[in-house]
Symmetry: C2
Subunit: 388 residues, 2 copies
């Protein structure tokens, strides 16, 4: 089976706001083969910048675009997917965006491989069983403790047994302000639910400020404190981890496997959060899952796109029962909500399950694709390198 | 003084070959201000992918293009350059290519600041003196030991007291083949010159293969063994560093300051090689220089573009006498060789010096720019986002 076709779809809402909402646009990658089997993948990345990685003119032996590297490649076994990835990494060694851009293609190749072999992706990765996962609601803190308490009550009323609160006023006021926000989240969720706190990188490199908070937040039995620092402040993570009474989470900014390994080994995180749509697809996300198993950490997905991305993320770690959490994109746009079927809704027990269908197990709705597609045209030296 | 204008120039030779020669194309960034002072910078990156980072539509609060973030910004002091960089990092947090793309703009801002304040850039960075540096010739191994010996003799005859040999057949044959290449390089350069060996990432993650070589190469008194592993194989670097009788060098793949810090702290390199045109400009390159001072390593530039890039690199570490090496791009294309004046040729003592002129101290030749410019046009949703 050979790769014969790569199509890129830049999908976006008509108006993009400055909100921290990743479901306002997306880059969908379609790969076709000479066997007639096709697959889709999704990148969590700037669509235009990533599209340029598929069509950029070569600069030298280490800057060659993805299309040129993978068109015509043979893809018959899971090992082929790893071989092609290594080739893309090598030929794109000096393209920084290579991981964000290639993620969609890697996911599409796993989709194709599963359809060809009649197996869900998690089985191709070597797992025998896909365990159900507990989705956690993910919301912003309210502007006040009162608003935060109300949001927490709504989530609890909707049946969530776990919820993450983040960003907003956290870290912008006094220590007592921060504590009041966490107290309100706990109060609204009730004493038996899990509460996660996402600090939104607010303390920069200041581990003392973060430690003061962690000590106070511990009274409210939070599951984790997420991204207290700038993503690159690994040394600050490591210092905080030595003294913090609450466990740390981070990693959504991992563009490479080493970034995640660095955070696991030197940042002392207990939860490593990986976005398969950023790190280069299911293949490297699975590599980080293996590192998490090795280092005794808990692997958690980071997902803020459509359910296609959620399925891709879930296949990578569904096989490990201990990795029980699932970040579940909630307040999705009409683009993200309608892009594919099935929607991976939680079951009556509140847990989310893969369907067991071959490949990713989701189907793209081409009407939604047509409705939200933005045409792109890139010309260099008078020649059209990309159109569509 | 406000930033009023950003112009991007994609320059390239008519025919790009698959050689490992980074001087075949470049991205030149021009910034204009309302004070009439202008500056230039250069990126070592895919020009098209990086141009997309200057014009991509916003996706959400963390994907905003560079042009939108910096146009209209006030730039009166060196602190403004740091403030603007932090803003670009924050607004571009989820654009993987942000560092490669912004590098040229950061360099242009330092050029502008120096011209405004009538100071060379190294002084604005806090250094009182710019020390001359010893350039090392950088060539590929010949296909045979005999060819390698001849190349080394030519370099020695041209006056080079230090030379780096890399890639080619290194690591592709037997241990004895590799040793023969190093022996030939040493023989051709003579006993008193410095010889560096660049393994071109050839041993992947295999520290035992690299250690065998390091032990044998030590007989030939090499200054360093560069990039024995894949850039992300920091753990392998660390294991090798513990036992290697020769010192290790690496870091040209550093797209972030943390990548370099990781290599310094956990990879055990003695020489950290940074490309200001990749890591995001002079500002983060200088941050790594400070880390090298802190960790007792030697900072070395990585440069494979025009002398504009060489000047930008040199300003960042000229002030530290102990950092005595200078990677000096040699076999440059007509594009790289003619892009700017002066050419920073070695003096009669074989050393390279900055000129002391304000800013970067080099002037762009606009005839060369016109001769090699490739027009680019990017349209999204029928709207031209970039033309020129």
């Amino acid at each position: 089976m050979k790769i014969t076709d790569i199509e890129l779809y830049y999908l976006a809402l008509p108006h993009i706001t400055d909100a921290a909402d990743g479901t306002q646009d997306t880059l969908l990658v379609h790969i076709g083969t000479d066997a007639g089997i096709e697959g889709f993948g999704e990148c969590d990345a700037s669509p235009l910048v990533s599209m340029a990685v598929y069509c950029c003119p070569p600069s030298h032996s280490n800057i060659v675009n993805i299309r040129e590297t993978i068109l015509g490649e043979t893809v018959d076994t899971p090992e082929d997917i790893r071989r092609i990835q290594a080739k893309v990494w090598a030929r794109g060694l000096d393209i920084e965006q290579i991981h964000h851009a290639y993620a969609g293609a890697d996911i599409a190749l796993w989709d194709i491989m599963g359809k060809k072999l009649g197996q869900p992706v998690y089985r191709l990765l070597g797992d025998q069983k896909a365990y159900p996962k507990r989705p956690y609601g993910s919301v912003l803190f309210g502007d006040t403790p009162q608003q935060t308490r109300e949001r927490a009550r709504s989530l609890a009323a909707a049946g969530f047994k776990a919820a993450k609160f983040g960003w907003g006023p956290m870290g912008k006021g006094t220590l007592e302000d921060d504590v009041a926000l966490v107290a309100a989240a706990r109060e609204g969720m009730g004493p038996d639910s899990e509460v996660m706190i996402d600090a939104g990188c607010v303390w920069g490199h200041d581990d003392q400020a973060a430690l003061q908070r962690a000590r106070r937040f511990a009274e409210y039995k939070i599951t984790w404190l997420e991204e207290p620092f700038h993503p690159h402040a690994i040394e600050a993570y490591g210092r905080l981890a030595k003294h913090s009474p609450v466990r740390l989470a981070g990693g959504e900014g991992s563009n490479t496997v080493r970034f995640a390994e660095d955070l696991l080994m030197h940042g002392g995180v207990s939860f490593i959060q990986i976005d398969a749509g950023r790190i280069g697809g299911i293949t490297p996300a699975y590599d980080v899952r293996r590192l998490a198993e090795k280092h005794g950490a808990v692997y958690v997905n980071h997902t803020f796109k459509s359910k296609l991305s959620l399925a891709a993320a879930l296949h990578g770690f569904a096989g490990v029962e201990r990795f029980g959490y699932l970040e579940y994109p909630q307040s999705g746009s009409p683009l993200a909500e309608n892009l594919c079927e099935p929607c991976l809704q939680p079951g009556s027990d509140g847990l989310v399950r893969l369907t067991g269908a071959p490949g990713l197990g989701v189907t793209i709705d081409m009407d939604t694709v047509k409705r939200f597609r933005r045409p792109v045209r890139i010309e260099v030296g008078g020649e059209a390198l990309l159109e569509g």
